[in-house]
């Protein structure tokens, strides 16, 4: 095969707090192939951002990561030293954050930052690095690239800054890009452009892309596969068509009912909603984490932890006690 860019098994993140341990991410298994886009969706606090940081080994100091396997291009990078990891970051795995203003250094010009990135990872002369940087800016659709190289981040608009971030991430031609809410801070018109750009570049370089977002519209349009997270666990995963056309988990179904869809929901009519709140993840937790908010809840839900259940020839999986036949009838 040789297609699998990233594969992670049994990833958990625990954060010790004053009143107990917060199990922020619980036993997550993920993989991404070349040219594939995996979207991780979920509401705030579901652990999607921590998952991405854990993959890059960029978790905050007090967070504890336990991980079964972490393979990049089918070779384990789990026992890499901090030095080796920092070669992997930026060079083989790129990351794009939500707010480009905070991830670019305000005190250096765009050119400076791009040249430094390149020279950090590659043996290359300053002028060659500058040429490459310029080419990359042109590739991501920035006009007057020469002039942009001499500008500081604050002189650029939000959309331009995000393009610069993407250009910078692509400089070392990574095998995988992790983008955490890359378009949330942008206008809808710019959002479409940035997503289009990401997808084109992904195909051109044959990269894997992990996109973290809470926006189901973005997911539907760009994902190949989707992982839905709730309270630190993956509660459902499948191809984008399976998730949107045949969601199995009550939480995924609930989410789909919450968004107004032109043509489906009638203007003015009440939208669906999910009552209640996400449970506290501090301390131990038994049973389904969605039980308190679920309209199909049974006694069995609270008794023991629920495992992911494979359906549709193992391409789709969901974490619920209700078996597929019964679930299809409920829908």
């Amino acid at each position: 095969m040789g297609n699998r860019v990233l594969s992670v098994r049994n990833l958990s993140v625990d954060i010790p707090l004053a009143d107990g341990v917060l199990h922020a991410v619980d036993d997550v298994n993920l993989h991404v192939d070349r040219g594939e886009t995996l979207c991780i969706v979920g509401e705030s606090g579901c652990g999607k951002s921590l998952t991405s940081l854990a993959l890059m080994d960029l978790l905050p100091k007090k967070a504890i990561r336990t991980i079964g396997r972490l393979d990049l291009n089918e070779a384990s990078i789990l026992d890499y030293s901090e030095r080796q990891m920092s070669d992997v970051r930026g060079n083989r795995m790129g990351m794009i954050f939500q707010e480009p203003m905070t991830s670019l250094n305000p005190a250096f010009t765009i050119g400076n930052q791009m040249v430094e990135t390149l020279r950090r990872h590659r043996d290359i002369s300053k002028s060659d690095a500058r040429d490459l940087a310029k080419q990359m800016l042109e590739k991501v659709g920035i006009t007057a690239a020469e002039q942009r190289l001499t500008q500081y981040p604050h002189q650029l608009s939000g959309g331009l800054r995000q393009r610069v971030m993407i250009a910078m991430t692509l400089l070392c031609e990574p095998e995988l890009i992790i983008a955490d809410e890359p378009t949330t801070a942008l206008d809808v018109t710019i959002q479409a452009q940035i997503l289009l750009l990401l997808r084109e570049l992904q195909h051109e370089y044959d990269m894997g892309l992990i996109l973290i977002t809470h926006d189901l519209g973005v997911v539907a349009r760009i994902a190949t596969r989707v992982a839905v997270m709730y309270a630190g666990q993956i509660v459902e995963q499948g191809t984008v068509e399976q998730i949107f056309e045949n969601p199995m988990h009550p939480y995924t179904r609930g989410l789909m009912r919450c968004i107004p869809v032109p043509g489906k929901t009638r203007p003015g009519e009440p939208l669906g909603s999910i009552p209640g709140m996400v449970p506290s993840l501090i301390g131990s937790f038994t049973g389904c984490r969605f039980a308190d908010r679920c309209d199909l809840v049974k006694e069995a839900c609270r008794k023991s932890d629920v495992a992911l259940r494979d359906v549709a020839g193992k391409t789709q999986a969901y974490r619920c006690v209700i078996d597929p036949q019964a679930m299809t009838k409920v829908a």
Binding site: V188, A220, R221, F244, P260
Partner: protein, 325 residues
Amino acid sequence: MAEVMINASAVTRDFSISRGMFRGKQRLQAVNGVDLTVTRGEVLALVGESGCGKTTLAKILLGLLPQTSGSISLCGTPIGSVPRLDLSRMIQPIFQDPYSSLNPRKSIGSIIGLPMRVQGIEDQQTILRRVEETMELVGLPPRLLNAYPNQLSGGQRQRVAIARALVNRPQIVVCDEPTSALDVSVQSQILNLLNDLRTELNLTYIIISHNLAVVEHIASRVAVMYLGRIVEQAETTAMFRNPQHPYTRALLDSVLTPDPRLGVPNTQLGASYPNPIDPPSGCAFHPRCANAMPHCAQTAPGGTAHNDAYVECHLYSDAGVAKAG
């Protein structure tokens, strides 16, 4: 004819921007000649990209910012002639982020009751009764009366912000991105609540949002703003079915409906948003417009009104010019 709640004509707001030492000031027209009429019970959505002046316009309507020229009347009385306190009884805001719009050191009851104390109501019993009534109205359990904002979820906080806006029973509520800081599952609850409150209290809403799916769901009329001007205004279903202005079309094209069979749209809005200090000549939209004609760069288009809709574009103002599809 329905009762006119807001009537704005030729409202303009300039800011002067410093260009650095010794270089003098420059004028930025944040709102440039806006005409607006909103009748009772209507939900008017203001949409547009960031920097188009929608929030400035909302601040002017709220009386938080004086207009440079033009006139506004709320419920038939001109804004300038109404004392501050009376104005705040007519119109109230709900802000985007319920995490920063609530004072973390005040209890929920005190936050919701504050607008009443500002109005000079001193009787604690009256305030308490009204606060409890309003909490019930927005679906907050009474036990939260003495809680603090940090004990509440995002959705509950936004309900507190709504209760605070409604406690003096205003006629008009301005919601600036009321759901964009909230999670999907909570967003729908707040939208449903806003809708219920409108019918129950006969409110008029101005909703500022960049989420066009939300706008289509809740608004009865939409005004699209670009560089300080309203470039198109129409009844919601008409606008979503048949957008006229090329900018409106591009905006609607960029909405990502959750349909996995559609890809990412190409809006063809090539150039980025123009610098408002140095707006393009003629029609401000012409550098990004897919249907730009030679004279678009020279003269600004006049408005064309037909059947309750309004559009500012040369495609429609010039009789005989073929309509672009």
